[in-house]
Amino acid sequence: MGSWKSKLLLISSFLLIGLEMVRGGELTFIASVDKQRLSLNEQLTLTVTVSGKDVGSIAEPEPPPLEGFQVVGTNSSTSSQFQFINGRMSSSKTINFIYYLQPIKVGELKIGSFKLKVRGKTYHTDPITVKVTKSAGGAAKLPHPTAPQVPSGEVSTGRGNLFLSALYSPKEVYVGEQVTATYLLCTREDLTNVQYGQLPSNTGFWTEDIYQAKTLNFHPQVINGMRYDVAKIREVALFPTTAGELRISPMELVCDVSVRSNDFFDFWGRTKRVRIRSNPGEIKVLPLPPEGKPEGFAGAVGDFTLHSEIDKNQVALGNPVNLMVTIRGTGNLRLITTPVLPPLEGFKRYEPEVEEKISKVDSRIGGRKIFKYVLIPQREGELTIGPICLPYFDPQAKCYRQAKSKPISLRVTPGEEEKPVTVLPLSREVKLLGKDVRYIKPDLLKLADQGRRVYKTPSYIILHLLPLLAIFFSFAYRRHQLRINQDLGYARQRRAKGLIQRRLKEAKRLLKEGSSGEFYGAIAKALTDYIGDKLNIEATGLTIDQLIDQLRERGYPSEVREKFATCFENCDLARFSPSNLSAKEMGETLRLAQEAIWTMEKTTKQGEKVG
C-alpha cells in the first residue's frame, strides 16, 4: 500500500515540481505533510522534496529536532525529467526524502526547518505545525501485541513488515469448553493473492469455523509504535476433547508481496511469493471435576435449555405419536448424543431422528438440536411421558447442572379397529425421513435463457436456407460443366462470344497499325468462326451466301442476316480491290461487325427456340 500511494504522490509532485523547475531553473526545497490533524495512533508522512537542475547527488537535508515525534521509518525516491525546448535539452531531478512519524504526545506539534547546503548556499524549508488529538477510539490497540513471529529467511523484507498474529482466548478451559482462535494478518506491504498455505491441524480438538474472510478488510492499527494494516483472516471455535496441555499448530498463509524497486519507471513493480506463519497456541485443558457428576452425563459443556412436546394430546391405540425434544443453547452442541429419556412404560419407542442447526452468536458456537422420537402407545388410558433431562457442565459456574423438561400427559383411546400392526406406513415414513433432496445449485454470474425458441432465431433460419441456395447453385454449376464436357455444340456456343471479342480486339490493333489487308482478313475470319461456333457447323469452307443461308435456316431474323452480309461484303470488297481504304472506313466495318454480333447475341438470349 505504501509504495502505491507514495508512487502516486510522487507522480503528482513530479508533474507540479517539474513545471516549476523548468520555469525557475532554481533549486526548490519544500517540506510537506500528508495531513495536518491526526490522532495519537495515526502516522504522519513528512515529505521533503529537493528538485532542480543538476541536483546530482546531494546529501540528505539536515532534519530539525523532531520533538514530540518518533521516526518510525524513512524512505527516499528519485525521479528525473528531460525536456526539449527550442532544440535544447534540459534535465531536472527530483529527490523525495520521506519520513514516517508517529506522534507521542497530544497538542500542537511543530516541525522545524530542514536545512540543505548546496554549493555553499543554504536552503531552508518552512516550519509546519500539526495538531495531534487523542486516539479517535475507532482503532484500538491490538489486545495482544505479539512480537512478529515471522521465521527468518522466509520473508523478503525481514523487517517485520508482515506477520500473522494468532490470538487464543481463553488460555485455560475445561474439556468441552470453547477456545476461540483469531488469526490477524498485519502488514505494511502491498499484498496480493493471499491464500491459505497450511491450515492448523488441531488434534485433540473438535473445530467449528466462526468466521472465514472472503475479502480482506484492512483497518489501520498501531502495533509497537508502527502502523500496520490489519485484517481478520479467520476465527475458529475449538472444543478440546481431552485434558492436558494441548498445542495448536500455527496457521500458514502464502501471499505475493510487491518488491520495492528503485527504478521509478518500473511502476507496477515485481512481486515475491512469501510464506508466513502464525504463532502456535498453548492451551491448558482442565478435566471436568469428578465430584457431583450426575448420572447420564455425556460430555455436554456450556449452557443449555431443554424443551419437549408431542404432536397430539390424544391418540388411538397403536397409532404413532411424535415426541420432539429440543435442546437450545451455547456450547459443544454437536457432541451431545441423546438426552436421557425416562423409562417410557406402555410405549414402543423407535430410534430418534436427529436434526441440528449450528449458529454463531458473538463468536460463541451454539444453536439447537432436535430429537424426534416416534412412540407407539401399547395400552389405553392416561399415559405420562416423564421429565426428560440433559445433564451438562457449566464452565462459568464450574458446576454441573440439569436441563429438564415438564412431564407430558397423553390420552390413548381405544383403536377404531383391530389393526394388527400399523408399522408398515410408519416404517416407510421413518425410512423416508432419512432421505433429503440434493442441495441447491450454486450461484451464477449469468442465467442463460435455456427456454429460448431456437428454431425461431434468425441464425437457425439462415442456417437452414443458405445451404439450400448453395445446393441449387452447385447443381446449376454441375449441369453447366457436364454440358460443356459432353455437348460440343453447347461448348462452342458458350465460348463463341469470348473468342470473337478477343479477335475483334486483335483487329482493332491491326486497324491502328494501318494494315488494312490483314484487318479485313481478320474480321472476316472472326465472323465466320463466330457463326460456325454459334450454329455448331464447319464454317471455314462456306461462302458468304451459304453462311447467311445457314442463319436463315436456324431462324435468325433478317436484321441479323443483313448486318452480317454487309460486313462480309465490306471485307470482300476491301480485300480484293486494289485501292487502300481509309482508317475511317475500317472503323466503320469494325463497328458494324460488333453491332452484328451484339444483335445476334440478343436474339439468342431471347429464346433458345432459335437454336
Binding site: 440434493r438 450461484d443 451464477l444 435463457d449 435455456q450 427456454g451 445451404p467
Partner: protein, 256 residues
C-alpha cells in the same frame, strides 16, 4: 425478384449479431439472492426471489431446480415437483434434478403405474425426452449442415472416387438428419401439444363431469402428474398415465 434475393440475405447476415437480445443482469441477481435466503433457511423469501427471477423472463434449469428445493423445504410438494419438471424440460440429463424428482415422487401417496409400453417401444418413446428441445434443434442443424456440405461435395466433385465417397457420406448424414428431425418433431409435439399438469391440492376428488354435482370417481393426491385433455368453465378433464381420468377444478392444477 432475382436481384432482391441476395440483398435480403446480406441484410440478414449483417443484422444477425444485433438481433440477439442482450443478456440481462437482474435475473441472476435475484437467483443469487434466493440462494442466500435458502442457505439461511428463509425458504419463503427464497421462493419469492426465485419467482422474481422467473418473472423477468429467464427459463433456466438451475433456477427451477433451486425453486423446487425451496418449495420442498417449505412443504409444498406439488409445486416442488412442478418446478423440477420444469427444470427437467430444460436439462433432461441433470443428475440432481432426476434424483430429487424421483425422491419427491416416492412421497406421493398414490402410486399410479407408469406407461404400459415396455422394451424397445419404451426406449423409442422415451428417447426424445433424453434431450432438451434446444439440443435437438442444434443437433438437427449441425447434421443438416453436414448433409448439405456432403451433397454439395457430391455435386461439385468430378472424380469418380471422390464422388463415391461423397455419395456414401451423404447417405449417412441423410439418415442421421432424418432421425434427428424425427426426434425434434417428437419433442416439439410433446412440449407444445401435450398439456401436462401437477395436482396441488393435498386431496382432490375427480368427478364424472365439469361441476360439483357430478359423481366422484377418483381421489387424487398432491404431486401427481396428469395430462389435461380438455378444459371447460374452470374445470379440466385430466387423464392419469394409467388411463384413468376425470374432471377436476382448474385451480387445483398447475400447468407444466
Amino acid at each position: 425478384m432475382r436481384a432482391l434475393g441476395p440483398s435480403v440475405t446480406a441484410f440478414l447476415l449483417v443484422a444477425l449479431p444485433f438481433m440477439r437480445s442482450f443478456p440481462q443482469v437482474v435475473p441472476s441477481q435475484a437467483y443469487n439472492q434466493g440462494n442466500s435466503f435458502f442457505q439461511e433457511g428463509e425458504y419463503k423469501k427464497a421462493i419469492q426471489a426465485y419467482r422474481k427471477a422467473l418473472s423477468l423472463g429467464v427459463r433456466n434449469s438451475y433456477l427451477y431446480y433451486n425453486l423446487g428445493n425451496a418449495y420442498y423445504k417449505d412443504g409444498q410438494l406439488g409445486r416442488a415437483i412442478w418446478a423440477y419438471e420444469k427444470a427437467r424440460i430444460l436439462s433432461p440429463r441433470d443428475d440432481d434434478i432426476n434424483f430429487n424428482l424421483k425422491l419427491l415422487r416416492s412421497f406421493i401417496e398414490d402410486k399410479s403405474s407408469a406407461s404400459s409400453s415396455r422394451g424397445v417401444m419404451k426406449f423409442f418413446s422415451q428417447l426424445p425426452q433424453f434431450f432438451a428441445l434446444r439440443e435437438l434443434a442444434w443437433g438437427e442443424t449441425i447434421l443438416y449442415l453436414f448433409l448439405t456440405i456432403s451433397l454439395i461435395g457430391y455435386l461439385l466433385s468430378f472424380k469418380p472416387g471422390l464422388r463415391r465417397t461423397m455419395r456414401h457420406l451423404s447417405t449417412v448424414f441423410a439418415s442421421l438428419f432424418f432421425v434427428s428431425t424425427l426426434l425434434l418433431f417428437a419433442r416439439y409435439y410433446e412440449l407444445n401439444f401435450k398439456q401436462r399438469a401437477i395436482i396441488l391440492s393435498s386431496q382432490l376428488e375427480a368427478r364424472s363431469g365439469p361441476g360439483d354435482e357430478y359423481t366422484k370417481i377418483l381421489t387424487l393426491h398432491e404431486g401427481i402428474e396428469v395430462e389435461i385433455k380438455e378444459s371447460r368453465e374452470g374445470w379440466c378433464l385430466i387423464k392419469l398415465p394409467n388411463g384413468l381420468g376425470g374432471w377436476v377444478e382448474r385451480s387445483s392444477l398447475l400447468k407444466i
